[in-house]
């Protein structure tokens, strides 16, 4: 099957400026490659500053990539211009983390949803009917049509944002921590809606989150990011059952489990240090200063490649490949 989205060697460096001079680069995303297939959710997890959000935005060219290829439905997005870029804008959408700032406070729900539809010239017989139908599909109703965002709760706003995404009938949606600003009970609601919509319309999602539980619930396949690099990619179930990369193992042992019995039985791994700054990342494997298995002379010198250890399960670690 052809992937909807194929990212190859994506890099995004931000300049660090001091008095108009560039004194260094923040390597926010440094050589990331993955594919997303139709109807699939690809989860991207990592701690703050690992570059997962930048990856999501660079893929949509909200931030121009420094290097790399982004192939969307067979076309290289980095080369698109004019009409073709509009085509891309229509078929690839994003939903943001903060429901309080992602909707224009001066527009009614109707306008918020219809503006992109009109802009892309999508023919709609009865705009009102069309928007009501969309609102109903995300659990709102016609009473909300001509209201302003400030009249809604956080969860309801995320639903409006979702309806706006749906209106363009995209193939692919970047979900940038869509529930991390919400309470758990509301979160469950939104996650279920997202899943249902995926089943119905066959969307592909890039699901970005720092919450491993949520990523496991949502994703078919997932990638773990550390300091701008993917350290492990594979089917979500497999990664949770059998994490290969020491960082993934550390993450899994660090997440609190909402079950006292399992929590007591869980095998623990000592968590060392904090993520270093992406301005001057460690040489070699970026995880080596925190890694309990780091081998001097290898891990701190050479960068491990992403290798397929078992079927569809890739790891970038010298424990699993030869130099």
């Amino acid at each position: 099957m052809e992937p909807v989205l194929k990212v190859e060697g994506l890099r995004k460096y931000f300049p660090v400026k001091s008095l108009l001079r560039t004194i260094g680069w923040v390597k926010a995303v440094d050589g990331v490659s993955f594919e997303i297939y139709p109807g699939e959710t690809f989860g991207l997890v990592g701690e703050s500053g690992c570059g997962k959000t930048t990856t999501g935005r660079t893929i949509l060219r909200l931030i121009e990539p420094t290097e790399g290829k982004i192939v969307f439905n067979g076309k290289d997005v980095t080369q698109l211009k004019g009409r073709e870029m509009l085509w891309f804008r229509r078929h690839a959408q994003i939903m943001f983390q903060d429901p309080y700032s992602s909707l224009d406070p001066r527009q009614t729900v109707f306008n918020i949803i219809m503006e992109p539809v009109k802009f892309h010239g999508i023919e709609v017989d009865d705009p009102e009917e069309f928007v009501i139908r969309l609102l109903e599909s995300v659990g709102l109703n016609e009473m909300h049509l001509y209201r302003y965002p400030h009249e809604f709760s956080g969860g309801q706003r995320q639903r409006i944002a979702l309806a706006k995404v749906l209106a363009l009938q995209p193939d692919f949606v970047v979900l940038d921590e869509p529930t991390s600003a919400l309470d758990v009970s509301v979160q469950a609601n939104i996650l279920n809606t997202l899943k249902d919509l995926q089943k119905k319309h066959g969307f592909s999602y890039l699901f970005i989150s720092h919450d491993l539980g949520v990523v496991k619930y949502m994703s078919h396949r997932m990638g773990v990011m550390y300091l701008g690099k993917l350290v492990e990619v594979g089917p979500a179930e497999r990664i949770f059952d059998n994490p290969l990369h020491p960082y993934t193992q550390m993450l899994l042992s660090a997440i609190p489990i909402p079950d006292p019995e399992l929590a007591r039985k869980k095998k623990r791994m000592e968590v060392k240090g904090e993520p270093p700054s992406p301005i001057n990342p460690p040489s070699g494997c970026r995880f080596h200063p925190r890694c309990p298995f780091a081998k001097a002379g290898l891990c701190d010198k050479e960068e491990p490649p992403l290798v397929e250890v078992e079927k569809d399960h890739y790891v970038a670690c010298w424990l699993y490949g030869k130099a």
Partner: protein, 326 residues
């Protein structure tokens, strides 16, 4: 028989806002036992933070503690009602016998002073050291306690020179500087990454064991509760819904809200087919629902729930629930 260090009785805190009286906490009673870690759990706006602040009268206008008692049993056997103390007396207890750790380490440190100064100051205020200079000297030991590497040099650092995790360690350092009997940690790890969160929770546990302190942990993260607490108080819309040990709460939840909450959290170690969500939204506390405050969202609600406020009843030893079904 565990002895309580704090007994909260019928605590009521109202906020007098322009929109009306927000009944943030209504008739909340529970005990904190000596040496335990008690978790206060609930969603945004359920009153868990307000409860913790009300313990030492840290409620600012337009909020007011309307009624209730907070009995504090000192180590020497004497008992005081914290809500009856005047400003001077309560300040002596706050930060000394009862210390706080707040959520955001970035804003709870003053950027203009070194971390050593801030720890020293906390001790000097309560007369634990003669002057700030001595306090800064003692701060080195405290930084070592909270596992900050190279404390001799770190003591002279300003907050912006430290990472988020390190800052939270300093905040904890300020909290334990006076060897408190009760440590109130209000969402201490919410602003932190998972790996750092694990380290901070580990540290709090460690310190608690070492000083034989009591910890009141306020959080919305059920995972954190399961891993650190011994007992749990579940709050909903300003009232206590359920109290029990972690095993009772997680394996035999009685209140429909607790049940729903547990089913809404994805467990990364289990296979989850479908998360269950709670219909509706958290009620407005200006005009809360009559009767049981959870009834508009409760699948088992009956006529009685709409009229009568359920009492907190002990169903099995140590397991209390406020629901008409029991």
């Amino acid at each position: 028989m565990p002895e309580p260090i704090i007994e909260i009785k019928n605590l009521r805190v109202y906020f007098y806002t322009y929109a009306g009286v927000v009944k943030a906490i209504e008739d909340v009673s529970f005990n904190i036992y000596r040496g335990e870690t008690l978790a206060l759990v609930g969603e945004t706006g359920c009153g868990k933070s307000v409860t913790s602040r009300a313990l030492t009268q840290l409620i600012e206008s337009p909020g007011r503690i309307v009624s209730g008692q907070v009995l504090y049993h000192r180590d020497d056997g004497s008992t005081v009602d914290l809500l009856k103390l005047n400003d001077e007396e309560i300040r002596e207890i706050r930060g000394n016998e009862i210390a706080y750790i707040f959520q955001d380490p970035h804003s709870s440190l003053d950027p203009l002073y070194t971390v050593g100064y801030q720890i020293g100051e906390a001790m000097e205020v309560h007369g634990k050291v003669k002057n700030i200079k001595e306090g800064i000297g003692r701060a080195v030991n405290i930084l070592r306690e909270v596992l900050i590497p190279d404390p001799e040099n770190r003591v002279r650092n300003y907050p912006h020179e430290l990472s988020g995790g390190m800052k939270q360690r300093v905040v904890i350092g300020i909290g334990i500087a006076n060897n408190p009997r009760l440590l109130i940690a209000d969402e201490p790890t919410t602003a932190l990454d998972v790996t750092v969160q694990a380290q901070i929770l580990e540290l709090i546990n460690e310190l608690k064991r070492k000083y034989n302190a009591t910890v009141l942990l306020i959080t919305h993260n059920l995972g954190v509760v399961a891993e650190t607490a011994q007992r749990v108080v579940v709050m909903y819309a300003g009232k206590v819904a359920e109290i029990g040990s972690i095993d009772q709460i997680f394996h035999n939840p009685l209140h429909p809200y607790t049940v729903a909450l547990l089913r809404a959290v994805p467990n990364p170690l289990k296979k989850i087919e479908k998360l269950e969500s709670i219909p509706g939204t958290v009620p407005n506390l200006i005009t809360p629902p009559k009767g049981c405050r959870f009834h508009p969202r409760c699948p088992f609600a009956e006529e009685r729930c709409r009229k009568e406020v359920p009492e907190l009843k002990e169903i099995e030893p140590g397991h209390w629930v406020a629901c008409h079904r029991y």
